[in-house]
Symmetry: D3
Subunit: 274 residues, 6 copies
C-alpha cells in the first residue's frame, strides 16, 4: 500500500480526531517522555492495515519508530503482538485510537473475507467485493478484501461497464444497452441478468461478464451451462456465509458479497503501552 | 445537519465513486431521459441520513428534486418509502449507490442506538458513543447516534479532557495528572478509573466525570454510592445489549458503547426507479 | 461532461490566471457595464470544450449567460460563431483568455483526432489515445479525443492491466508476467509484444489485448493472422497520419496514437465583444 | 525551481495517473526488485524539466535516487543521457510515463523558444511568452520559456496592467482607460494599440509599454520611431518563426509569441531501464 | 471584491469557528425561527468588508438576505447601521461573530489608512502598505487599505522586484544586483537605499523606484532632488502618524507604512438582532 | 505546537507571499550562497511563535537549520537574539518576512496577555481570550495567549455551550434555553447574564459557568456572592488594562478580554543576516 495513495485519508483523519489539540495529553504528558507499546490482537483474525497504522504515527511525529512483527494477511491468535511502536509518549497517545480504528476495521474485513474464501476453497471460484463500501475508505476496504484472500470487483463507476436493470430499461433491452456502450477496447462489459432468458440475450451480444442477480440455485446452474466459456459468470445478491458453498457448487466463476464491507465487525485489537 | 459541514465528505465520496466518469450510464442512458425513484426500507429501522443522501444527488446535479417523506429519527417499517427523488435518470443512477451507502450506514447506527436506548428506558441513564468511529465520518456517525436517541461523548481529543490509564501512569497518579491539566474553565475533566480506590482519588481532586472502566456490577454500585452528586458517573468497557440493563441498574449516569459505531450493520434500503 | 468532474480543474485555472485580481479590468471597466461576445472559429476544425468554457465564466460570475450555438463534435468553418456570452463586461473580460485556452486546446485535439479517424474510415479499426496527455488535464483531453471520433485507451494505471517490456523482463517472460497478474475479473489484460514469437506466447496465456509495438507492416499482418479472434489487436508506436492507413490495412483492431495529445496545436478561436 | 511551488501540480498529476493503483506493476513486479534507468533524448533539443521529473519519482517513493547528468538549458543531441534514476523497480515504473510527460513538454517548449531566440540573436530584442499557456501548468511552461532563453510576459492578470481593445472601448478611449488605472506605483502599465494614431495617444499619457497589435512592418517602424525612449515597444500578433526576424528588424524591444506555449511539440525522450 | 477570490478564506474561517457544530444554537434555537439584525458601528470609522461579511452568511445558509445600507469606504458615525441581515435565526447566530471579526478588522485598517491619507492630503503623495500583513489575509487587508484611500505596494514577492540590503550584499553592490535581475519587461525594479551615495548608484542603473530606507528628513530631501524624474521615490521605515506630514514635505512620491496592517485596531461594530 | 496542526496555515501563507516566485531573490542571489541570520527582539516582550517561524523556513527548504536560543514564554529584552537560522541565503530571504509576520504577531499577543496577567497576579483569577480572533489564525493566537500566561475560552462554537442573549430571547428565557440544551455530559454550559435577577435564574438551572456581561462592579460583587461555589463566575465586556484589577477584586474566577486578540500590536523583531 503506497503511502502517497493513503496520505490524504490519514491526514484528514488525524485532523478529525486531534483538531485543535489533544488537550489531555498536551497538558498531562511531558514532552520529553518516551515509551513503547505493543499492538496486540485480542481475538483470532487476519491482520490488515499495519501500513495505515504506521502512517498515522509517522504523520503525527516522524520520530516515532514502528516495527511490524507480522505480515499483512497472516492469521493472528489472541494475545499475539503484531507490531511495536516506540517514541515520544505524547505522540503515541495522540495516534493510538486512530491507528486502532483503521487496524480494527481493516482486519475485521480481512477476517470476514477469509471466512468466505475458506468456505468455498474446494471450488474454483473467486469471492469478490462490491461498491457497498464506506464512503471515502474504498481503497482501504478493497485492499483489506484482497489481504483476506478475496478479489476486487470494479473500484468505481469508471473502471468497468456494468449494465444494471435500470440501464437496460432505459435502453429498451439488453441488446440495445450493450449496443450503446462506448466500447473502449480496454474495458470489460458486464450485464446484470434476472432470468435465463436474459442470459441468452447477454451471450448473444457477447458481453464479458454475466451477473446473475438473485437467481435460484437451479437457475444459476442452468445459466452456467448456457454460458459455458462465453463469459465469466458472477453470482450476486442474497449470498451469505450459509449459502455461499451451495452457490459455488453451481459452477459460477465469481461470487460477489456486499456484506464483506457493508457489515463491519471491527476486530478487538489493543495498544498496550509500557 | 448543515450542508456546509458535510459538503467536503460528500464531494470526496462522489469523486471516489465516479472518478473519471460513470462509463456505463454516460453511454447507455440518454441525457434528456428523466425518471423518479423511491427510497424504500426493506427492514425495520430508524431513519438517519436523508440530508446526506439528498446532498449526494444535489452535488451531482442540482436539478435533481429530492422529497423527504419521513423525518430523521422516525421508525420505518419494511416497504415504507422515506423519500422520492426525480430528475435526469443519469444523475439519479450516478448517485444511487453512494446515497444508499450513506443512508444504510447511518440508519444502521441509529437503529442500533435506538435498541440500546430502549433497553434502558426505565432508567435515568444516557447511552453515549465513543471515538471508535469510522475515520473521516465521525461527524455523521455521531449525528446518527443522536438521531437514534443516544448522546455524544466528546467529538475528538480537543473538546474534553479525558485522563486515561496511560496519562495517569505518565503523571504518576490520578491526583498528579489532574493537577497538570490546563484547567481551561470551559472544559470538563473526566478520569478513567479501574478500582474503587481510584474513584476516591478522583473525587478528592474534584473531576467532573468519573469513567468506570471494565468494573464489575458490584464495583460500579459501590462507585455510584461513593461519588453521589460529586461527579457524573460513566460506565465503559465490555457493555453490550445483553448486560446494559444490568449496568443501568447500578445507578450510573452514562453508559458508553463503542459498538454503536464500531460494529456497523448497514440497513437494507433500496432505491427503486420507475 | 458533468460539471462536478471538471470544477476543480476550472477553479484552479481561474486562480492561476486571476490570482489576487485582474488589476486592469477591475480599475478600467465599470462594475455595472454589460456586454456580449461571440466565440468564433478562425480556422476549420471540430468543436470541443464548450461546457468547459461555459464553466469558466459561471465560476467567475454566475450571472453570465452562455449560449451554445453549435454542438460538441460539429465541424466548424472559419467565421462561424459557436457560442454567445453576455453579462457583466468585467466578468467576460476576466474569463476570456482562460475560456479560450481550454476551447482552443480541446478543439485542436478533436480536430486532429478527426483527421486520423477520417484517414482510416474505410477500415474497421478504432483510433485511440494514450497516457501521453498533459498532466492534470487528462480527463479533458481524452474527452476531446472522443468528441473527435476516437476512442480512449485506459484512463490511467488503474483501469486496465498493460504488461510492458519492463514488466516482462522483471517477471522473466510473458507467461510469468501474466501469471502474476491479480486477475480481477472486471479488468482486461493487455500485453505489449515486440515479435511474432511473443504474439504466440501472449495468445497461449489468453490475454485480452495484444499490443504490437513498433512492428513492421509484415509483422503486423502476421500477428493479425495468428491472433484471429483470440484477442483484440492493437498497433502502437511510430504511427502518424502518413502511415496510419497502411497500418489499418494490416487488419489490426485498434491503433493508438500518442500524438493525439502529445503534440498540441491549439485551434485559432476568438472571443469578440460588442 | 523550488519544490514547494510545484509540489501540488506534481502530486495531483500522480493521483491522476496512478489513482487507486498501478495494477500492473503492483502485481507483476516484486516489491524488493531494484533497477536503474537512463533518461535519454531521442532527438535534438533543449533540456527543461529535470527537477519536475525528479519530484515525480520522489513523491512516489523518496527512496528513488535521481542523478541529473545535464543542466537545464543545455542543448542535447539524440542518444545523450540527461539523468539516471535508480531504486525500487516498481517505483520507477509507476513514475516513468508522468516524469516523461512533464519532461517532454517542457523540453519541447524550451527547444522551440531557443529556435525563436536564435533567429533574432543579432537584434537587441527579447522573445517573450503570453498567457496562452496550458491551464494549471503556467508556472512550468513559463519556466521552460526562460530555460530556452526567452523572457516572461506577465504571469497572470494580477502582476501588470495590460489595457486591451475591450478595455479601451469600455473606458471610451486610451487616455480615459489609463486615467482610470489604479496607479499602484510598483506596477507597469501596458497599452495595446492598433494604429499609429493610438501610439501617439499612449505616449501622451505616459504608459510604460506599448503593445503593437498586428501591425504591418511599416507601421511598426513608424511606431518605434515615435516612441523612442518613452516606452518599451512590444510587437504582438501573427508573428512566427518565418517573420520574426523581419519584426525584430523594425527595432521593437520585445516580441511576444503565443505559439511558444500554445502549440506544444513534445520532444521525444525515453526512459530505458536496465 | 469578487466572491471567487475570497471564498476559500471565508469557508476555512467558517470551519474554524463552527467545526463540528454550533452546539448552542443547534439545540436552543428552533430551525424555523427567523429574525433580522442590524450591523451597527459603535465608533467613528471607515466601512470596509461588507462583501466579506455577506459571504460569511451566504456560505452558511444561502437563504440569508443581506442588505448593504452603506458603501465600502463611507465614513460611518457611531450608531449608524451599515447593513441589515435577515433569515433563519440559527444561521445569523452562527455567522455573527465571524462576520464581525472580518468587518471589524477590515474597517479598522481602512479607518487607520484614512487617517494617514488625510494627514498628507495637501501633498502629492501616496500612502501605501507593505508585506507586513496577517498571514493568509493579505488580499483582504490590502483591499481595506485601498478602501481607506491608500495604495498597495506589491502583493507578494512575485509581482515586482525589490532589491533590499541583503540582496545588494549578496550581489556585491547595487549595480551588480540590478544587473542580475531577470529584466522581464512587465516588471518594475525597486531598490532599497540607505544613503545618498546609494541613491546615485541606483539612478545610474536606471531603476524604476528608489526606496529611501530610514533616512533623515534632510537625506530624503537631498535624495528627492537627485532623483528628480528619473524614478519614483518611496520613503520607508519609522514613519508614523506623527511624522508622516514632515516626510511628505520632503517631496517623496510614496510613503509606505507597515503599521497600516501590522498594528490592527479592530473597530467596534455590533450585530443587533430583533 | 505540533507541526501537523499548523502545516496548512504555514504552507498557505508561503503560497500567498511567494506565489509564482520570489523574482528578486531568484535572480539576484546565487543558488549555492549560504548565510546565517539572527532573529532579534527590538523591544521588550514575551517570545511566542518560534516553532511557527521555524516551520516557515523548513517548508521552503528543509536544508535550513533553525536554532532556538530562547524558550517560548520567556521575557526578552531589546537586542536579545531568540534564534539563529542558517542555510541557503535564498531560502532565508524567501522566508524572512513571513517568519517575522508570524513571530511579531504572536509575540505581540503573548506580551499583551502577560501584561493583563501581571496586573491581576494578586488575585485568584484567570485571564482568558475570546472568539474575537483573526479568521484562520485562531489556533495560533490562542496558543500565544497561553504562552503569555492566559487561558483559553472555548476554541469555537463546538466545544462548549454558551447561551447568549439572543439564544435566551429565542428560547423565551434562561430556564427554557438551558432546558433545550443537548446535555452531552462532556460539555459545560455557560450562560450570559445581564442582571442579578438573571444570575439567580442561571443558578437555579444549574449551569456550569455564569458570564456577567457588562455589569457594574457592585453587580459583579453581588453576583459573586449569590453564585458562591455553584458555578464558575466569568466577567466579560468593557474590561481593559485600566479596570481589570478592580474587576478581579470583585471575586470573579475568570475575566475574558477580547482585546487580547482583537487589537494586535505586532512586536518589533528583525532578522539580521550576516
Amino acid at each position: 500500500m503506497d503511502e502517497f495513495k493513503i496520505r490524504k485519508i490519514v491526514t484528514q483523519a488525524i485532523e478529525e480526531d486531534i483538531g485543535t489539540g489533544d488537550i489531555t495529553t498536551e497538558s498531562v504528558v511531558e514532552d520529553e517522555e518516551r515509551s513503547s507499546g505493543k499492538i496486540k490482537f485480542k481475538e483470532n483474525g487476519v491482520l490488515a492495515g499495519l501500513p495505515v497504522a504506521e502512517l498515522v504515527f509517522k504523520e503525527i511525529d516522524d520520530g516515532v519508530n514502528f516495527q511490524a512483527l507480522k505480515k499483512e494477511g497472516q492469521t493472528i491468535r489472541p494475545g499475539e503482538v503484531v507490531a511495536e511502536v516506540s517514541g515520544r509518549s505524547a505522540s503515541i497517545l495522540k495516534g493510538e485510537r486512530l491507528a486502532l480504528n483503521f487496524l480494527q476495521r481493516l482486519s475485521g474485513i480481512a477476517t470476514k473475507t477469509r471466512r468466505y474464501v475458506k468456505e468455498v476453497e474446494d471450488y474454483d471460484v473467486k469471492v469478490v467485493d462490491t461498491r457497498k463500501t464506506t464512503p471515502n475508505l474504498r481503497i482501504l476496504e478493497k485492499y483489506a478484501v484482497k489481504i483476506g484472500g478475496g478479489y476486487n470487483h470494479r473500484m468505481g463507476l469508471y473502471d468497468a461497464v456494468l449494465i444494471k436493470d435500470n440501464h437496460i430499461r432505459s435502453a429498451g433491452g439488453i441488446e440495445e444497452a450493450v449496443a450503446r456502450v462506448g466500447h473502449e477496447h480496454t474495458l470489460k462489459i458486464e450485464v446484470e441478468v434476472e432470468s435465463v432468458e436474459d442470459v441468452k440475450k447477454a451471450i448473444r451480444v457477447d458481453v464479458d461478464i454475466v451477473m446473475l442477480d438473485n437467481m435460484s440455485m437451479d437457475e444459476m446452474k442452468e445459466a452456467v451451462r448456457i454460458i459455458g466459456d462465453e463469459a465469466v459468470v458472477e453470482a450476486s445478491g442474497g449470498i451469505d456465509i450459509h449459502n455461499i458453498k451451495e452457490v459455488a457448487a453451481t459452477g459460477v466463476d465469481v461470487i460477489s458479497i456486499g456484506a464483506l464491507t457493508h457489515q463491519i465487525s471491527s476486530l478487538d485489537i489493543s495498544l498496550d503501552l509500557f
